[in-house]
Symmetry: C2
Subunit: 474 residues, 2 copies
Amino acid sequence: MTTTPDPTHDVIVIGGGPVGENAAQYAIAGSDRTAALVEAELVGGECSYWACMPSKALLVPPAVRSLAQHMPGLGPQAPLDVDAVLARRDSFTSGWDDSGQVEWAEGVGIEVVRGRGRLTGERTVVVGDRTLVARHAVVLATGSTPTAPPIDGLADAMPWGSRDATAMHEVPGSILVVGGGVVACEAATWLAALGARVTLAARGGLLARLEPEAAEAVEAGLREAGVDVRLHADVQRVRRHAPEATGTGHVHGGAVTTTIDQAELVTDEILVATGRRPATDDLGLDAVGLDRIVVDGRQRVAGAEGWLYATGDVAGRWQLTHMGKHEARIAGEVIGRVADGGRADEVVGVDDDPLTQVVFTDPEVAAVGLTQAEAEERGIRVERVAIDLAVAGTSLARDDAGGRVVVVVDADRDVLVGATLVGHGVAELLHAATVAVAAQVPTARLWHAVPSYPTASEIWLRVVEDLRRQRRER
Amino acid sequence: MTTTPDPTHDVIVIGGGPVGENAAQYAIAGSDRTAALVEAELVGGECSYWACMPSKALLVPPAVRSLAQHMPGLGPQAPLDVDAVLARRDSFTSGWDDSGQVEWAEGVGIEVVRGRGRLTGERTVVVGDRTLVARHAVVLATGSTPTAPPIDGLADAMPWGSRDATAMHEVPGSILVVGGGVVACEAATWLAALGARVTLAARGGLLARLEPEAAEAVEAGLREAGVDVRLHADVQRVRRHAPEATGTGHVHGGAVTTTIDQAELVTDEILVATGRRPATDDLGLDAVGLDRIVVDGRQRVAGAEGWLYATGDVAGRWQLTHMGKHEARIAGEVIGRVADGGRADEVVGVDDDPLTQVVFTDPEVAAVGLTQAEAEERGIRVERVAIDLAVAGTSLARDDAGGRVVVVVDADRDVLVGATLVGHGVAELLHAATVAVAAQVPTARLWHAVPSYPTASEIWLRVVEDLRRQRRER
């Protein structure tokens, strides 16, 4: 390498999604350091415009309608006004305009650099015709890109990706969702709620990484919503027919014929939601002597520890916005600490922190930490509590209440290592378990955290009660 | 005292509300001990028939309607069907029939004894013409009784108590609610939601024991619901007019004229909700040499430690069902441990456990632990976080989202000692804070409990973030 040019910024972040924003913000917080945030699309990223926000904006109105429908005293509910729901979605994506986010970034002292960033050497990032040089650190936060399964004819059939499903301006009459993960299950939920005839074909089961109770409940919920769920399905061939004009003046692709388990299915659209991989293409890893990204608990990239960090989907640990932002906060803090002359290990890393996740299907699934299977794989001696989500607070909340809670306890340490809830409104019940898992609170102490009556949170009392009963009866 | 007669039961519990039920259940759990549960009214108590359950059954439908009204995509909501709401309330009180609860008690091996229990000597309880004698312990769980302020003419005016408000079969056209505590605020909320013209007159402010933010928000909510809120009001005189027949064939008391701050107000009914005191009347305390009930952290009554316990409202520590049930579980466990030859101090007491409370007004209030004022009174060096309840999860949940979070941190120990949330749906956000307070989790560790995006629970991340910002800027 020749002589390094003068730094242009203290910190350069490639990728301006929420993860990159957090990394930049935390790396310069409380200092006069400068940061560049390099983004090729919209600042705010996948989450703000094509994933978390629009998907939840589409899912909430049907969920509220379902709640209202099951509450005596309220009148019969009108069918959903799809245009109003789509308009609400548009308001949450700011009409795909990132000026608000850019304003925020500039307000906290981050320079937004438009374009695709690529490493060309240590601390050096090229964006178009600009060369940026970092005094302290470069953070990779480019996220992930969808993968498509090798199905005959799929690429030529102009399939929808998750972006098409969240950004849709018209609900298709019928659609085949290929996939069984979170994105597939959530998309099937809102598409069905907004009036599409939905078929879901998954190569395996649903939500494979969660407790089996989650898959069972979500499958039942999808079927109840009219979704034709086909599990362990073999999608063999896809053909898009010739385009045709519709009555509304739009030009659609023609219908799609998909061969699943030897039988043909004709739908208006096909959505592929079969997974994502770290977005490392054309990132210039080879220019700094790396062939892949491996991070430690402080998000330092192996082989380039002194200056290169990776956070979020591209780092490969998790694929969830909030977990990526957590990594970004830690990485940003480490960068700041080191820049101030401190040591990276003064910042507690993310290694042992529990993964949290909510699937906004109907019913919802909320999970933290390890499943029973994962805990046993790690050699943990497991105690398991599995009880119905049935307390006064859940019955009061809606007449069609129901659900299930599964908790995994490390018997030797008497602490929760995982919890999964399935049911209406469980999203907000999770964080109590997250605190317990993250802080390794003994269940003997949880016994003294008294939920208010009559809330649904009382289920956490029932969990400890059941654990104590099991121990007494053993 | 003469010779003690033979024991009839191992444990006798006076008062068959949820607190008494828990005490009896836990005292005999996993053993062949016997218990008697003495109840003069309905087994299941105030909470099941006249307080928590019916009040929440009345409050939930209006809350859901309000949520639906603020959600784009749902049609305009019809006015509440009051009869359907009252019918739902009836189903939650089992039509004031306690046979289900009696069946439960008998199923777990508890004998239900109908009548008023009175201590007549050590371990001895008289119920009508029966004398019960406890081998191990007597537990007092008689709850509390409403108090009425000394207002001229009030007693003669046949005022409603909280039971009349929860059990009402017809919504009064207009009603004056006297009081500013939780019961008064909740009753004003459901009475207004169900169509009554409500005036609320409080001697002081609202919800005096909570953070001031709670009172402000609840006052604003009541006013928005059309309640005429009069604070620091002097209710001077009450007069009930002659009864009159109504169009529906019912005979009501005539209208009530109340003089408040020298001005006259005429309403159909007046509800007194000004507080409750421990129900010790005719309990026979004097027969065992006591003039009042003082308990320790294991609910043992001072002066009768060997055998007498008190739990719930009558014990005087808290006036909340779930906290009373917590005391009852601890007392029951202590009784069982001692009966099995162990020591009471092998069971961790309730002394330091944080109080939790939810006020189901619109907006809701949820609180745990100490207010800032209480913490400062105890000499704690306080750090305070006060931020808007505004994260993606709250905006997605409803278009009229809003609210406030106040957190009190013990700066020397870096742990939460109190938290108060005000806003829609905060009831289920509380338990995460309750776990943190009860387990004294350092805020440095809470930083690693990552709420799932986009949930309202993300507010707990914002709280720690704000605390860290304050510390950085100090």
